[in-house]
């Protein structure tokens, strides 16, 4: 009986000591807590440009006997050019002459085009002659240019430019169907 009462007294004493410690030092922190940390985020946005061309363009005679053939297309593009520096370019180059042989020969200069209606940048001026050996101008894009969303970027998204082609109708061409491929390239500086 005395042994049992002693244990009980010891327990009560220990609890009283613990309570005194908490009372003097405050209630200990809970297991969950809130920590505030700061992290710097950095994004490197490079200049970028992309172009989309229609799959094909069909040329048709413009008038009567041996009138030139004509065709047109609308090119779509999206751009984010560098804030400063030289202009960027949208160009075109024929990958080769019309095929099969016997038809128009692009390298002789019968294929010309004009540009208009660029919604971002300046379209090529006058009449350009398509080439198989060099890229020729379609549109020049200034620095700090961007597509879509309104000022300071363009309102249009995507941007567009119209090309009107003219192909000589030389009697020397053999009668038949011919195809050639044009590659449009957007180059950002």
């Amino acid at each position: 009986m005395r042994h049992h009462n002693g244990r009980l007294v010891l327990m009560k004493a220990g609890l009283m000591v613990l309570a005194c410690v908490w009372a003097s030092n405050g209630v200990p922190p809970a297991q969950s807590d809130v920590v505030v940390l700061s992290q710097t985020l950095q994004a490197q946005l490079a200049a970028v440009g992309k172009v989309s061309a229609p799959a094909s363009v069909t040329f048709n005679p413009t008038g009567t006997v041996f009138s030139p053939y004509a065709g047109s297309l609308t090119l779509r593009y999206r751009v984010r050019s560098t804030p400063t520096g030289a202009v960027s370019t949208l160009t075109v180059q024929a990958t080769g002459d019309f095929s099969p042989s016997g038809g128009p020969i692009i390298s002789s200069g019968p294929l010309t085009y004009s540009c208009s209606g660029a919604t971002l940048g300046t379209p090529c001026g006058g009449v350009q002659t398509a080439s198989t050996t060099a890229q020729t101008s379609v549109t020049t894009i200034p620095s700090a240019a961007c597509t879509g969303g309104g000022a300071p970027c363009s309102a249009a998204d995507p941007n567009t430019v119209d090309l009107n082609f003219s192909l000589e109708n030389d009697p020397v061409y053999k009668a038949g169907s011919y195809t050639a491929v044009l590659t449009f390239t957007i180059s950002l500086i």
Binding site: P171, Y173, K174, A175
Partner: protein, 179 residues
């Protein structure tokens, strides 16, 4: 539920194929140019008024009409240049192609042509009722870009004393075709 399963395949195929119809944006884009070059032919008469003159007393009247042609025939095709008097000499009383005062009175011509055309052979008699030959072309015939010329038709008109004196005009129409 079973029907929905049957539709799944076609729907997936449709979505996959529709995606390829749109031109994708990329650093470069390609367009195929397509042109059908057909057979064509054109003629330009370079002598607006052909004066027929008699070099000596009652010698036949002679003169020349020049023309230039452009032509492209197919590899298995051909071409022709023909001529017809579409308006007989007027006013009446002078020469006539359709009803000359003497049946031996004629308006005849010979042809001179630059290749690839072949000139009519010998002397031809002009007609108001039918086209008569000036030139022929074979398959895969091509002129230059500026046209081939000068080609010519040399006229000879009978100088019949039965004609009344005066000035008379007729119209010759040239036609070119290609296949």
């Amino acid at each position: 539920m079973r029907n929905m399963g049957k539709l799944f395949g076609p729907i997936v195929l449709g979505l996959l194929s529709s995606a390829s119809l749109f031109a994708q944006f990329a650093p470069t884009g390609n367009t195929t140019l397509q042109v059908n070059v057909g057979v064509e032919a054109g003629i330009r008469v370079d002598t607006a008024i052909t004066n027929l003159l008699s070099p000596s007393t009652f010698a036949d009247y002679v003169g020349s009409t020049n023309f230039t042609y452009k032509i492209r025939t197919s590899s298995g095709g051909s071409g022709t240049i023909t001529m017809q008097i579409t308006s007989d000499f007027a006013p009446a009383g002078g020469p006539s192609v359709a009803a000359p005062p003497d049946p031996t009175d004629t308006l005849a011509y010979t042809c001179s042509l630059i290749a690839p055309g072949t000139a009519c052979a010998g002397s031809q008699t002009a007609s108001t009722t039918a086209q008569t030959g000036v030139a022929t072309f074979g398959g895969d015939a091509h002129s230059t870009k500026l046209g081939n010329g000068p080609n010519s038709v040399a006229w000879t008109l009978s100088n019949d004393p039965l004609y009344d004196t005066g000035a008379y005009n007729a119209t010759a129409t040239f036609t070119i075709s290609a296949t």
